[in-house]
């Protein structure tokens, strides 16, 4: 009826009329898949015994989708789908390039590891509380943030993942958790609001929210629009999300309170979403302004690294120490963003991917250590090496990886970052990177010495008979093996990351994917 009475119009000016190839669905599928499975789990609230299996299968499916997505992007370049077939910049575009696909894949691997670990960590009350639906919706938000090509849509996915993370962080409703959740929630809400305000400001200056459109128009608006203000505000908002130096205090104050698996997922996913958004906005959308701000970002990076490393040195709680190590890692990534160029940006992306895998694995290790030793505190953990040599070996490998020692995954990005910093003559930044690596080695060495090598005193062998659950050991082993494999054979990943970094710096392929016919 409606169709027959409407006057004839040239629909090709407004709509995508070509049939959509099935491969294009890979862009939206990670988000739609996670949302649908999350909704299914909410519906099945009486069958909580099924939840873990549905969620783990769902996350395995997500990994598979992201693998196909990465393969497709590697083979044929950036991929775009516009919602509701409206042409960009008016339709909301989902555009994935190589960096987005890499981040999405790493995030799904981390989430799958978390899903498996949760079989050993989340009890019935946690399931009834809705751990698995929250996990799936968190992944919908994280995947959406990595795949979207619209800056307001990016804000929406930030909100989705933030709300899910609120649910996860208060899981269990203990006093300490509420305390951590308030700090976490308050700071993140401020950051999100700042992001929203900045997005509004950006829309007022550009008249568009599509990232490809913004990247295209940024140069022409350089004289008239307050691009410097916009960039500074974005850096502050995303820096807060990523826990960069002056606004980093919320992370160590909250990441040690929730369940181990929740801490692990947060460490692997949330700060990295902030980093990804920062890279996307400063490197691709506003490159000239990043150049001007690079000294400030470098200063923030060096301070973030040192605060993280020294903070970790002062801790006596396994998980609080890891919280500071996450911050130190964020500093290293920021150093790459500050330096810029293929080496710097490539190093930042590589370091972020490495940090996602290794920090998650380290949180798993802390959870297993606490189960074996009865506490997270360094004063009562002891003698783990004597009782569980294999587990101790895994932890040691991860400790080397996070310190940036070869032959593990942390080594190569650190080399890239130090080299990129020296190449532009920022010797002090390279020095800060190396000093942080050294301090991190001291931190992890101290922990290993005290918690693993020290002999358990009398009366501390109460939990000597405790065993490691296979559901906890499997993801830890898998992530450690992955870190080792990346360290031993970095060539394919390095080449991919270089292409991704070049694609961010010269986004012509990205723009072509959104606007196939050139300028409208």
């Amino acid at each position: 009826m409606a169709a027959s009475t409407s006057p004839p119009a040239d629909l090709s000016a407004a709509l995508v009329l070509d049939p959509v190839a099935s491969a294009e669905w890979l862009v939206i599928l990670p988000v739609a898949w996670c949302l649908a499975i999350g909704a299914l789990l909410v519906m099945l609230r009486r069958k909580i015994d099924w939840h873990p299996y549905i969620a783990v299968l769902g996350l395995a499916g997500l990994v598979l989708i992201d693998v196909f997505l990465l393969r497709h992007v590697l083979a044929s370049g950036p991929l775009t789908m516009v919602m509701g077939r409206w042409l960009p910049p008016f339709g909301i575009a989902f555009t994935v390039d190589l960096s987005g696909a890499l981040f999405a894949l790493a995030a799904s691997v981390v989430a799958l590891a978390g899903g498996i670990y949760s079989l050993a960590d989340i009890n019935d009350s946690g399931r009834r509380y809705g751990f698995y639906p929250f996990l799936m919706l968190l992944m919908a938000g994280v995947s959406g943030a990595f795949l979207t090509g619209d800056i307001f849509n990016l804000y929406v996915w930030f909100e989705v993942l933030l709300i899910s993370s609120f649910g996860l962080i208060v899981l269990g409703s203990e006093r300490e958790q509420i305390d951590g959740a308030v700090k976490y929630g308050f700071l993140n809400l401020i950051a999100t609001t700042l992001f929203l305000i900045t997005t509004g400001y950006l829309y007022a200056s550009f008249g568009t929210l599509n990232m490809a459109d913004i990247a295209r128009k940024a140069e022409g608006l350089a004289g008239t629009a307050p691009l410097m203000t916009l960039t500074a505000l974005f850096v502050l908002a995303f820096g807060m999300k990523a826990a960069a130096f002056p606004v980093n205090f919320w992370l160590p104050a909250s990441y040690h309170t929730p369940r181990v698996v929740v801490s692990a997922l947060f460490a692997g996913l949330l700060t990295k979403v902030g980093i990804y958004a920062l890279i996307r906005v400063t490197v691709m959308l506003l490159p000239l302004q990043r150049e001007e701000l690079s000294f400030v970002i470098a200063l923030v990076a060096a301070l973030t690294m040192l605060v993280g490393a020294f903070g970790a040195l002062a801790q006596s709680d396994f998980r609080r120490m890891l919280g500071y190590l996450v911050v130190a890692g964020i500093g290293s990534i920021l150093a790459g963003i500050a330096v810029g160029g293929p080496g710097g940006i490539g190093g930042a992306i590589f370091y972020a991917l490495h940090s996602m895998l290794v920090m998650t694995a380290l949180y798993f290790a802390s959870g297993i250590a606490a189960r074996l030793g009865g506490s997270f505190s360094l004063s009562s953990l002891a003698g783990l090496y004597r009782r569980h040599a294999g587990f101790a070996a895994l932890t040691l490998m991860l400790a080397f990886a996070v310190s940036g020692l070869p032959p593990f995954s942390g080594f190569w990005p650190k080399v890239m970052l130090v080299k990129a910093a020296l190449d532009i003559g920022a010797w002090w930044l390279a020095g800060a990177l190396l000093l942080t690596g050294f301090l991190t080695t001291v931190v992890t060495g101290r922990f290993f010495l005290l918690a693993y090598w020290r002999d358990a005193g009398a009366g501390e062998g109460a939990t000597a008979s405790a065993t490691i659950s296979p559901a906890a050991l499997l993801p830890l082993t898998a992530l450690t093996v992955l870190a080792l494999a990346i360290g031993l054979y970095p060539e394919p990943l390095l080449a991919t990351i270089q292409t991704a970094a070049t694609g961010l710096a010269e986004p012509s392929a990205y723009l072509n994917s959104v606007f196939p016919g050139g300028a409208p």
Partner: protein, 139 residues
């Protein structure tokens, strides 16, 4: 609540409001209204019924747990977007069918399915909050 008048009127008022909420939901395609506002009206109906007759009565009356209703709504909305796969158009494209039932043409669309999903999410999520607040506030 102890008022006899309120208790006698509440069920009628609630059913009228639910009816009106569905009217607002369906009208929302081309005119003011839609899933969100319709859902809010339905929740106020449930809240009034709860204040008058007790939360337990409401929970029995809606049969499903509010969060399960919200989950079903989210699922329906996701499915509404995924139907586009079959038609080879991008995600969330509006698709229409016009089946005629007893000689009357009824336009159905994925947009409507999405809006019904929004309606259910709002009904489920907000009534979940409202009912648990009433439960704790009453005693």
């Amino acid at each position: 609540m102890k008022s006899v008048i309120f208790r006698a009127v509440a069920p009628f008022l609630a059913s009228l409001m639910v009816l009106f909420s569905i009217f607002v939901l369906l009208r929302g395609h081309n005119e003011p209204g839609g899933g969100f506002i319709g859902g809010l009206i339905a929740v106020s109906a449930l809240a009034i019924y709860g204040i008058a007759c007790g939360v337990e009565t409401v929970r029995r009356a809606i049969y499903f747990h509010p969060m399960a209703i919200a989950g079903a709504g989210l699922f329906a909305s996701a499915v509404a977007g995924l139907i586009s796969i079959a038609a080879r158009v991008p995600f969330m494209t509006g698709l229409w069918i016009y089946p005629s039932v007893l000689g009357v043409e009824i336009p159905l669309s994925t947009v409507m399915l999405f809006d019904c999903g929004v309606y259910l999410v709002v009904v489920g999520a907000i009534s979940s909050v409202a009912l648990s607040l009433e439960e704790r506030g009453g005693e």
